[in-house]
């Protein structure tokens, strides 16, 4: 049996390129807004676009996603409206969570992006439960849980993998190893080089893939998702990538080794993708420019939408707690 997922037809590589550009442009707009003081501090995923786009494009419509504080890539690759995302980040009424989430915990049930948490590792603790629902309620989708190398050092990572293996839960664990855990380099925090090494302890198949190569991520993720679907068992995919910007905007990154940053900047996933597509004759420079213009225009529209969206009305003191309870 082929391990390619029947749920997700292989996307046009130019679409992957466009999605990565959209994520970059969206986060660039956030960085600019943050520097100007119009947007609160946010955590970006600049440099990690290939990991998000490759994995999300390997998922089917029934699959559910749990994500974390660096979620813009996952949401946009899943088809989120950048205007509503930006409105949420700016605390406006038309945001995905009515301005109550801000940038850090955006979830969008309509897109299957459920239960985002910014407590590092919390998404791992909840993923088992979402997968339990899928199996107990007989739903077809698998559960993709995005986390970083920082979360892999939390107890919840180990507890989650253990329980998912024990209970045969269909979780695709996606560790975006971006080398940094807030302000701590992973080498200071991890006893092993790779997070995928840890999965073996729980009998979970795992692979580490070049997270800056969108084609490699897509292929590995399609294989991984198909494995989870077929076996009903968890699988861990580690994307080896890099957080190009700081932990939380603004961040001068004075603590980052210059050589390390240059090494990864030379491996920018979007530039790599563009060069490859052009070399393969699948994209001309003019077409690339057209796509870039289209993306810039979408972000411009998104910004105008978000800025035009009003702040939520200020409730009375008694109404402030509205929506806490079901």
């Amino acid at each position: 049996m082929s391990l390619n997922s029947p749920h997700a037809p292989a996307p046009d590589p130019r679409q992957l390129f466009e999605q990565m550009l959209l994520i970059r442009a969206y986060e660039d707009a956030i960085v600019t807004g943050s520097a100007a003081g119009s947007i609160p501090g946010t955590c970006t995923s600049v440099g990690q676009e290939a990991a998000a786009v490759g994995v999300v494009n390997a998922l089917g419509a029934d699959d559910l996603i749990l994500t974390n504080h660096r979620s813009a890539g996952h949401l946009l690759a899943r088809g989120a409206d950048p205007g509503r995302l930006l409105a949420e980040v700016m605390g406006r009424r038309d945001g995905y969570c009515q301005g109550r989430s801000g940038s850090l915990h955006i979830s969008a049930r309509e897109l299957g992006v459920v239960l985002t948490s910014t407590i590092v590792g919390a998404e791992l603790s909840m993923a088992t439960g979402v997968a339990l629902s899928q199996t107990m309620l007989g739903r077809p989708g698998i559960v993709a849980c995005f986390f970083g190398d920082g979360a892999a050092c939390e107890g919840s990572f180990h507890e989650s993998l253990n329980l998912a293996a024990l209970w045969h839960l269909p979780v695709l664990y996606v560790c975006e190893n971006n080398q940094w855990q807030a302000y701590v380099h992973r080498r200071e925090a991890m006893s092993r080089e790779r997070v995928s090494d840890w999965a073996a302890a729980y009998g979970i198949p795992a692979v580490t893939v070049d997270g800056n190569d969108v084609d490699a991520v897509l292929e590995a993720a399609r294989h991984a998702a198909a494995q989870v679907r077929q076996s009903g068992q968890p699988y861990l995919l580690e994307t080896w990538t890099y957080r190009t910007r700081g932990h939380l905007e603004p961040d001068d990154q004075a603590y980052v080794d210059a050589a390390e940053r240059e090494y990864w900047r030379a491996r920018d996933p979007i530039a790599t993708c563009r060069e490859r597509l052009i070399a393969a004759g699948r994209l001309t420079a003019a077409e690339a420019a057209t796509i870039e213009d289209k993306v810039a225009s979408r972000i411009d529209t998104a910004r105008r939408f978000a800025e035009a969206s009003p702040f939520p009305p200020i409730p009375t003191a008694a109404e402030l707690a509205r929506g806490v309870y079901a």
């Binding site: 989430s101 439960g129 979402v130 929506g323």
Partner: protein
């Protein structure tokens, strides 16, 4: 009416709700071992043992509740909640509001709490006030087997996360429990005894102590009203205020330490809303700001006893 222990009343509530609703499932630290009859009736998919890992038990319940199931989890002893704080406080309590109402979290957490078994402070710590202080959570603590059944059934049907604290000292005490669909709505206190002179408000084990104190007070000609809160959040402010408005005197009693405890909230609430009806200062009786010792007499000394409650109430009435 059959007589059950509080422990068995919990089992009856679980069985009835699992029978009623396929989405209800139970997992936790030994629940499939200790409640074998549930496994036999509902199968090992719906009644599961877990690793001794409170974070993943609670997190799994949050994820399951957010996507369509109605889990009940058993974490054994209340202090183990410390390992599950993030999942219950930051996720279960907050993600409905933070997501703009996209999700709800119908999950129930069972834990044992309080003195009675001499198990020491890492197994005996009444920390219900922590969760009352956390938005998005509800908290119940039954004092009788009937209320344990009725509150747990209502908690399982509630669309919000509910913590159910089971008093260890009451766990194997028998009581009459109504058969069938006996529900105790969350947020409704029970007035167990009427009286015009002083109001005794309590929950859990010390409700019985208040009833004993009321007997002793009656012998002195003092009529004490006894209120069992049953739910700590939502709190039945109306029942407390109505009673204090009649009696003009209030003694709040709980086993948890007094500092920033539930009694402090009740005292403040009454002072805000019924100050002019008070004939005497409010008295709070609670445990010390100290871990609980294992030695049985030392452990019991941290619990307000009937004599102390009666003495405090009598002083108020004579003052």
């Amino acid at each position: 009416m059959p007589t059950l222990t509080l422990y068995d009343a919990v089992g009856a509530a679980l069985a009835e709700e699992m029978r009623r609703d396929d989405r209800v499932l139970a997992f936790g630290e030994g629940i499939a071992t200790k409640r074998r009859e549930l496994v036999e009736e509902f199968g090992p998919r719906r009644v599961r043992n877990t690793p001794l890992a409170e974070g993943i038990i609670a997190g799994t319940a949050v994820g399951a509740a957010g996507t369509g199931l109605r889990p009940v989890i058993d974490l054994l002893f209340a202090p183990f909640l410390c390992y599950a704080m993030d999942e219950l406080v930051n996720s279960a309590g907050k993600l409905r509001y933070m997501s703009g109402g996209q999700f709800q979290f119908p999950l129930v957490t069972l834990v044992m709490t309080g003195s009675g078994w001499g198990v020491g402070a890492q197994h005996n710590h009444n920390l219900e006030a922590w969760f009352v202080h956390s938005p998005g959570l509800k908290v119940v603590m039954p004092a009788t087997p009937a209320d344990a059944k009725g509150l747990l059934k209502a908690a399982i049907r509630d669309d919000n996360p509910v913590l159910c604290f089971l008093d260890i000292g009451l766990l194997y005490q028998p009581g009459e429990v109504p058969e069938g669909d006996h529900l105790v709505p969350l947020g409704q206190a029970a007035t167990l005894r009427d009286g015009r002179d002083v109001t005794l408000v309590s929950y859990g084990k010390t409700v019985g102590h208040c009833l004993q104190a009321a007997d002793a007070l009656a012998a002195q000609g003092i009529a004490a009203e006894v209120i069992d809160l049953r739910s700590l959040k939502p709190l039945d402010n109306a029942a407390i205020l109505a009673s204090v408005s009649r009696t003009g005197r209030l003694v709040v009693v709980h086993e948890a330490n007094r500092l920033c405890g539930v009694g402090a909230e009740i005292a403040a609430m009454v002072a805000e809303h019924a100050f002019e009806r008070l004939k005497a200062p409010i008295v709070r009786l609670g445990g010390p700001d100290a871990p609980v010792a294992a030695s049985f007499p030392l452990e019991q000394a941290t619990v307000p006893q009937p004599e102390a409650i009666a003495a405090a109430a009598a002083t108020l009435c004579r003052g």
